[in-house]
Symmetry: C2
Subunit: 338 residues, 2 copies
């Protein structure tokens, strides 16, 4: 019999997390098991525990920004050893043989399994995944702060690769929370001119310290309108509707409005705004393993770090209360005391 995994689970939609144990079964040949030292809390953990997206199974063990050492390894796992410090994000498994996987776009595999979708995640002493989604954390990155890179970080790093952003570009970031504060640092170290769009101007000095060249009120259509024709990419991390037409007009010719925040209302995109100056509306979620590796190297080389508030994992419910308050600065991380 396998050693049971100790975790925190919610018994039903919106419930508090409580102690929970489960038998993980035999380790698959392509799987690794990670002893979780830290696990970030992502806003989508909250969406999942509240079953907002109608795809949560209960009891629900969240946590998909996990970091720790490998303690068990399947016979078919490649490039990893017991004791390696790795991170695990939203994605836990892909098929490995479809066109997308074999082409390096594992993120588009139709058999992709999410770490916390119909399986148990990183709010636990241990968590498992397929070897290719357990990605080694390079020297120079603090494992205590690296977890959020594996979901929040890759979500805003991937657009720079996928949308072919150049250091000569002007980049705006809408919403400066867990994702946005990393996006500002990425854009700054990428060599871009950086504008932070936020509804909380009291953070302006902090945002400038992260790399913002200017800070603009995201809800002030006039202020956004004054920037017409400026941006090569505007990266939106928010999940609320804004004056999207003003942001479309703020794009330079060939500019991209890139959406990573799941807004519930459709975006009313005007065809003339697309056609007249060859603009683009696009979106992505997380990124493939190769891009995660590139991001980690880039962070280590440039000293890019998540700004974290840390709670012991046993205080998970207090941490979620802080998340719900909207006052986390900028990403919450649980330190394992299980």
């Amino acid at each position: 019999m396998n050693e049971r995994i100790k975790a925190y689970a919610a018994a039903e939609a919106g419930a508090k997390f409580e102690s929970f144990e489960y038998d993980p079964g035999d380790l698959g040949p392509e799987e690794v098991e990670i002893k979780v030292s830290h696990c970030g809390i992502c806003h989508s953990d909250l969406s999942m525990v509240e079953n907002e997206w109608k795809m949560t199974s209960f009891p629900f063990v969240g946590g998909h920004e996990a970091v720790g050492k490998i303690v068990a390894i399947g016979s078919g796992a490649k490039g990893l050893e017991i004791g390696d410090t790795v991170g695990l994000g939203w994605n836990a498994k892909t098929c490995g043989h479809c066109d997308k996987c074999i082409g390096g776009y594992q993120i588009n595999c139709s058999e992709l399994v999410g770490t916390i979708v119909e399986r148990h995640g990183g709010f636990a002493d241990r968590v498992r995944c397929n070897w290719d989604w357990a990605i080694k954390i390079p020297e120079g990155l603090d494992p205590a702060k690296a977890g959020p890179l594996f979901c929040g970080g890759i979500t805003v790093f991937n657009p720079f690769i996928q949308m072919d952003i150049k250091p000569t570009d002007k980049v705006g970031v809408i919403g400066i929370g867990g994702l946005g504060h990393l996006a500002l640092q990425f854009a700054d170290k990428w060599g871009c001119e950086v504008t932070a769009f936020t509804s909380d101007l009291s953070k302006s000095d902090e945002l400038r310290a992260m790399g913002a060249d200017q800070v603009v009120n995201s809800r002030d259509s006039e202020a956004v309108g004054a920037l017409a024709g400026t941006f090569d990419m505007i990266l939106s991390t928010v999940n609320v509707s804004l004056d999207w037409n003003a942001y479309m007009k703020a794009l330079a010719p060939k500019g991209k409005l890139h959406i990573v925040g799941a807004v519930l209302d459709p975006l009313p995109i005007v065809s003339f705004d697309l056609i007249g100056k060859q603009k683009i509306v696009s979106g992505t979620a997380t990124g493939s393993p190769f891009v995660v590796r590139k991001m980690l190297e880039f962070c280590a080389r440039h000293g890019i770090e998540t700004i974290t508030e840390t709670y012991p994992m046993s205080k998970i419910n207090e941490a979620f209360d802080k998340l719900k308050s909207g006052n986390a600065k900028f990403r919450l991380v649980l330190e394992n005391d299980l």
Copy 2:
């Protein structure tokens, strides 16, 4: 005094075309004058004569798919000679020194002057433009059928270049009229798998002959829905609202819904459709001179030709009646008898 130009003009919004003459003034040093042999009729000529876009000045001389020989040339015009056969499309002049012009994206020049916007176009014996927008027609292309390439053609050719379409891609074309019938031929000769979306299935055999591998009813959401996950690009040439959500779902991962038809209602784009499989909504209008040159070479090499119905220019009002009927197959061209 300069020789007056003989033309057909509408005196006010929606009026019939009547004989009209004007003094073109001195030829600018960077200008050329083209003796028009043929001029295509584009749907935007109709929008302009009816002042749909509130930017028409009257008397209005339309025509922006003009072909003919150069009969006068300014001292600063480059790469052209008297007697060259050239074409002129929507764009007649750009500044030549801004970042966009100097970078080869003249189409995004903020000082771009349209051939029929506050100046007189090609429904005339002669028309003028800056030298860089008078583009030589290569050997092997029939000048009588080449005019429509300069607006309708480049509008649907440019996306293949700008959106980086590969011969391994699957391409759908929505709306098979003046633009769409050229898009089918481009996509086929580009090496792509080609789907024609049309509301008129009676044309199916013709569309297959142009290169369509399959023909689908563009207004049948179920038929479109059955193609979920298929297309790398869907190119929409229509100016009516369709079930855009079905077309978004018909895109493959990383697929692009590319808009070249000016739809008046906003497209309601769902953020999850963008994020989940990294999709894109984009748009372009016409193309820069370099891309026009590449298109003409490509057409000559592959035998791509506009399918035209020709009227003498003196029958311009009959030709417009045919355009309004929606029954033109596939592009109307006026042959000069002025």
